[in-house]
Amino acid sequence: MDTLTHIINGFSVCLQPINLWYTFLGVFMGTIIGILPGIGPAAGIALLIPVTYGMNPTSALIMMCGIYYGSKYGGSTTAILIRTPGEAASVMTTLDGYEMAKKGRAGAALAVSAIGSFIAGTIGVVALTLFALPLASLALKFGPAEYFCLMLFAMTAVSSLTGKSPAKGLLSTILGLMIATIGIDLQSGQPRYTMAVPEFQDGVGFVVAVVGLFAVAEVLRGLEDIYRGVSAPMVRISGKLWLTRDEWRRSIGPIWRGGIIGFIIGVLPGAGGTISSIMSYTTEKRLSKHPEEFGHGAIEGVAGPEAANNADTAGALVPLLSLGVPGGGSTAVLMGAFIMYGIQPGPLLFEKRPDLLWGLIDSMYIGNIMLLILNLPLIGLFVRLLYIPSGILYPLVVAISVIGAYAINGSPLDLYLILFFGVLGYLFEKADIPVAPLVLSLVLGGIMEQSFRQAMTISGADPAIFVKSGISITLLLLSLSSVVFPILLPKLKEWKKGAEEGA
């Protein structure tokens, strides 16, 4: 029962007053970041990396994870009150949440999303506690070839599942990998693509890329929206912040199902919070006896997706913590944070730093309780944030990004880089190219190339090493199917439609 001891010891780590404080700080900032439409968890975490430099890694990571799962709570508030997802994954909540609010049930919508988030978030953490270690023991058998195949799978899944076009997802992935090749090559010591800029010898900083792509790009988009004058009127909180008996009865099923759907989707690479909330929404609509109510303020349409996107965060931490390979944009940023603290997430972490690992996982139980309190009785305070005019908010986000970017090296070059990546992210959005694949491959690119070359060194430059073990063959097949599946899916639908019409 070694593991059980570690899990219990984890509580002794996360219950230390200092770590409780950082858990609170994390989920508090997470709620704010979730509520504010201009800035998401990825940018929030990236901005904190330079500022928290030198902090105890356990506390810093507890805080950053708090931002990650806390933002999902906050995102629903904005979705319900102003029909804008405060955080990308709460987009499904805008459909029925805003309608509920217009009907005077804003209180109930906020309550069900907070309670649903809490129940499903806790389901997710329990599942994370149970599944992390078995998966990590499997990963201990991985050699460089298997790791390469695993990263390949994560990237192909992300590139073909985020966004509408697999080709554009692939473009984003390869762009990230190319940026990752800038700098001194670790094995030969040769500078690559540095364009004679000495700062580039260390590579393009991961923080500046994320801050640019997520924060600055969002500011440009937001300012454009202000110029065009698009925004939905804000609905004030109405009704008690609680549910009627009937609403309870209708919500509990969607919350459980959403929790399970969200966790499973979260573990899989590529899918992420938005897809899990869409899956939950369609499931509930299909199961409902009154599907026509969906889109007109059905509480199931708030409870299910909100539950799903919260369980998803815990699910997404499974591959990051136990395999060391994130399956999406936000977890890639978290991985970047781990690496900044000199900690390599993955199977070895369970042996080397069980205190940090289980302290972190256990802190999520406590964080979820704190979030329930912050988002239910105290939600009225947070809602005031929505009264900040976006014409003030967006410029401030740039100013905050400047501190975050400049603090890393004290180099003005990093400022130009956040602007460059900001413009890139803005143009990506205009061209329907997803950003998450770029961030993932930027984080993994260096490790991926190293494991590729290590594998080839072991085999004496024989590529057959990648099909020598069952694990790598399986992963390669999974990568292949994740590329082929989205291309075949529309054809299958057409074919099925044709067959039905023919019958």
Partner: protein, 157 residues
């Protein structure tokens, strides 16, 4: 507009592949080291980019086939918002270029006031107050409390 954008993306992908192949050829290699050397992985990426370009081409071709018969999409007539975004980008670049000269506090305050004046028009007092307070408080908090070095510029404090 979608079609034009996709064409730009396609051309960009091909150009990038060409530039990347050229830049890869410029990397020095020696006889020692690992069997692959520093060029192999980038070359694979370049090939991947060519595959991407081919996929983009197929997608464009399919989209066009699906479009034919339907009315051509109305291109966005109003492009003025691109000028606004462009102006914000240039203004931000100016702020960054003068960052070490003006210092964090002064530069940020001026930068913020100008943006807020345009995007939060009609509330000069609130805008100036927010910009100045934010610049001063964040400067003091980060340099004094958190030990982050921000440029002081020509201000005496």
């Amino acid at each position: 507009m979608g079609e034009v954008t996709d064409r730009i993306v396609f051309v960009f992908t091909l150009t990038l592949a060409a530039v990347y192949f050229y830049a890869t050829a410029q990397i020095h290699t020696y006889e020692f080291g690992d069997p692959l050397g520093p060029k192999t992985f980038p070359r694979l990426l370049g090939i991947g980019l060519l595959v991407t370009a081919a996929m983009l081409f197929v997608e464009m071709w399919r989209a066009r086939k699906a479009q034919s018969g339907k009315e051509p999409q109305n291109p966005g007539s109003d492009r003025r918002h691109f000028f606004v975004v462009g102006a914000v980008v240039i203004w931000t670049a100016v702020y960054f270029a003068l960052f070490t000269t003006t210092g964090y506090m002064l530069g940020t305050a001026v930068y913020l006031v100008a943006l807020m004046w345009y995007f939060n028009a009609g509330k000069p007092v609130a805008n100036v107050a927010t910009a100045v307070l934010y610049s001063v408080i964040s400067y003091l908090a980060f340099t004094k409390a958190l030990g982050v070095a921000l440029p002081r510029g020509f201000l005496p404090f």
